[in-house]
């Protein structure tokens, strides 16, 4: 995966002489010490790397600097030190004209409270970025219509934002951001102002769109559940600094400190961990094309899976059948087929119901090859959190 956005050692200080404050921070002074000299630390040495086509989540409590970070990327807020690279171009060095160009065609933004123009129609709002770019009226309207169709608002193009519900308004906000065809999307708490049900719906919608559009999204949220649901990677911020960065599973499994642990404590682990994280080795019995046993590594208890030489599952042998396996000439005749299979990236909430039946559960990769097996016990063990497991 190529890197699209890279942020290197970014600082932002609110105060009279930020350069002085940056020097103090670099020399090891803390945020509180700086606050005493009337500097508010917005960002403290933030470095992140966002791969093209991923949803990168920035998560943290209110005041942790998330919005400041988001607004530095298109320089709604001027950073005081550090670099912001978009496809290798340093945004912090862009002059006013180049910066406008970047805002019009490289980076677009979705806002928490939608930030639509109340006196303009849905279509006019959607085409706003294109109008700023100076596109002729007909061309930009055509594009806006296409995007409105994508977000499901084609019928509303001549209505005003006030006539729409919150979720629909944010779809307009999304349409406005997508219309410019910018490949980087900044979404600052884009769904935080919506009702929980609508929020879920919008999250699904975003994931659906993302499958097709493959934008590079920097998504700001204070909701860890949302971060888990949407994000490929998550950066957790506190006091203007990134305190941990990784996949949801990495963060839940080994939080760096109490601040991070506090977020992970109450989340639904069945939606974080996947089959791959709970499975044990399959140790299959490999049968050749004519049905003879090629390889038998298995020593443990429980059912034994049999695969062809390519690794595709043929069935399984019950423990009581294993003994007769060495005597029979027709190993395939003893195969049982009543097993379930799940993809290795299926989340535990999808896996758990399969464990309820008495059927064995096999794990397969995206090509349908066996890669592990799941015991009901291990699913249970992973659902409990770290603290309870230790006690």
């Amino acid at each position: 995966m190529t890197e699209r956005v890279r942020i290197e050692n970014l600082y932002k200080i609110f105060g009279d002489s930020p350069q002085e404050a940056v020097r103090l921070l670099r020399s090891g002074k803390t945020k509180d010490e700086l606050l005493a000299s009337r500097y508010v630390v917005g960002l403290n040495d933030v470095s992140i790397s966002v791969p093209a086509g991923s949803i990168f989540m920035v998560m943290g409590l209110s005041g942790s600097g998330k919005s400041t970070l988001a607004r530095c990327i298109n320089r709604l807020i001027e950073p005081d030190a550090g670099r912001i690279l978009i496809d290798g171009e340093d945004v912090t060095r862009a002059d006013a004209a180049r910066l406008r160009e970047i805002r019009r065609s490289r980076v677009s933004m979705v806002f928490q409270h939608f930030a639509l123009l109340p006196h303009r129609t849905v279509a006019e709002n959607a085409e706003f970025g294109l109008k700023m770019r100076g596109l002729p009226a007909r061309e930009r309207r055509e594009k806006a219509r296409r995007i409105l169709e994508v977000v499901g608002l084609a019928a509303w193009e001549n209505h005003r934002p006030a006539e729409l519900s919150g979720g629909m308004r944010q779809r307009v906000g999304l349409a406005r951001a997508l219309a410019t065809e910018a490949d980087v999307l900044i979404m600052d708490e884009a769904f935080s102002a919506l009702d929980p049900l609508i929020r879920n719906e919008m999250q699904d919608e975003l994931l659906r769109l993302q499958q097709v559009l493959k934008k590079t999204i920097l998504f700001i949220t204070h909701d860890f559940q949302e971060a888990i649901r949407l994000g490929t990677r998550i950066a957790i911020m506190a006091d203007g600094a990134v305190v941990q960065e990784g996949t949801a599973q990495e963060i839940v499994l080994s939080p760096n400190n109490d601040y991070v642990a506090a977020f992970t404590r109450h989340i639904d682990r069945t939606r974080v961990f996947d089959a791959a994280s709970v499975m044990s080795p399959a140790e299959p019995i490999v049968l050749s094309g004519d049905g003879t046993v090629v390889e038998q590594r298995r020593g443990g208890l429980g059912p034994a899976y049999a695969t062809d030489p390519e690794g595709r599952i043929l069935g399984y042998y019950a423990p009581e059948d294993l003994d007769s396996l060495s005597e029979t000439r027709e190993p395939k005749a003893l195969l049982r087929k009543d097993f379930s299979a799940v993809r290795s990236d299926a989340k535990l909430f999808e896996v758990a119901p399969l464990c309820r039946s008495q059927r064995p559960v096999a794990v397969v990769d995206e090509n349908g090859r066996l890669c592990g097996r799941i015991e009901a016990d291990s699913v249970l063990a992973w659902i409990g959190n770290n603290q309870t497991r230790a006690s």
């Binding site: 406008r100 805002r103 677009s108 806002f111 409270h113 930030a115 109340p118 006196h119 706003f128 770019r133």
Partner: protein, 320 residues
């Protein structure tokens, strides 16, 4: 002993006399330059109002009230103006209206750009704000003194005084309106690459318009009040009717002038207030309405069918 008349009197009056005489002589070109646009515009509007037969003018004003406000206000406008004509002060009322119209046009042309400047630059606002404070705390009556000293007497100096008194609310409200625009919406404008000019025209002015029109309403009322007061420095119109009536102890005549003034004031207030309120509930394009009312430029018809339709209805009045 403590009688103030016994004290030495500071010769302030003489100093000012000398200073003003110096300014009047040496800065004459400046004051003529200031006077010129006021004089030309006033002359043009006044001649037009006086030349058009009054039934036609009543019709046009009512049509304008209908478009800018509501049918009820249009009816009220028609009845009030007809009454003014019947009681025999039509000519004077048109002089006053021309004075007010001139002042308001110039207030808008000066006040809105000044307000925009104030909204964009804290430095400009910190300079202009105390000036506005002084202007608004000074009783309007007192303005007559420097105006007479620098511009002389008559209707044109009267218009200058009206402008000076009426302009502060418009500057204040324009500044306030722009500064109050939702921060996130302004951010959105910038985030999508708006130039400062695009931001002003597409985002800030349209969203500030209800507030600006609220300021315009106050400016119109101040202009109305001041247009009567300037009768004291020789401006013609309804104020002069009242003043002369009082001077001759002709209470009837003074009352006729007064009634006409009140009716005119109510009409102007209703119309401008309705304009401001109408902007509060979101209607087609703020800007196109605004532009159409100020007759600055036509709206770009291709932009939005709805806005364009509304604007076309408006321009039809202008063309009539």
């Amino acid at each position: 002993m403590f009688d103030p008349d016994n004290l030495y009197v500071l010769p302030l009056a003489e100093w000012i006399q000398v200073a003003v005489r110096w300014m009047a002589v040496n800065l004459r070109p400046l004051f003529t330059t200031i006077k010129w646009p006021v004089e030309s515009l006033l002359g043009f509007i006044q001649d037009t109002f006086h030349a058009v037969p009054y039934p036609i003018l009543i019709l046009l004003f009512s049509l304008f009230a209908w478009r800018a406000a509501t049918g009820r206000i249009a009816l009220f406008t028609a009845l009030s103006l007809a009454f003014i004509a019947i009681i025999g002060v039509w000519y004077e009322a048109m002089t006053t209206l021309a004075l007010i119209a001139t002042s308001i046009i110039l207030c808008v042309l000066i006040g809105i750009p000044t307000g925009i400047l104030c909204a964009r630059s804290d430095k400009a606002w910190s300079v202009i704000r105390p000036i506005l404070d002084i202007m608004q705390t000074t009783p309007s009556f007192v303005y007559l003194v420097p105006v007479v000293m620098l511009f002389g007497v008559g209707t044109v100096p009267g218009a200058v005084a009206v402008i000076v008194v009426a302009i502060p609310p418009l500057i204040r409200f324009t500044n306030l309106g722009i500064r109050m625009v939702d921060r996130e919406i302004v951010e959105a404008g910038i985030a999508f690459g708006a130039t400062p000019r695009q931001l002003l025209l597409e985002v800030q002015l349209p969203l500030a318009l209800p507030t600006i029109l609220g300021g315009l309403n106050q400016t119109v009322l101040m202009a109305m009040v001041m247009s009567v007061i300037v009768a004291m420095i020789g401006a013609e119109g309804l104020g002069l009717v009242v003043l002369q009536g009082l001077g001759r102890l002709d209470v009837g005549r003074a009352a006729v002038g007064g009634i006409a003034i009140v009716l005119l004031a109510i009409v102007l207030d209703r119309i401008t207030q309705a304009m401001a309120n109408e902007q509060g509930v979101q209607r087609p394009s703020f800007l196109s309405n605004f532009v159409r009312l100020l007759r600055l430029r036509r709206t770009d018809d291709e932009e939005a069918p709805i806005a364009a339709r509304a604007a076309r209805r408006g321009t039809a009045v202008d063309d009539a």
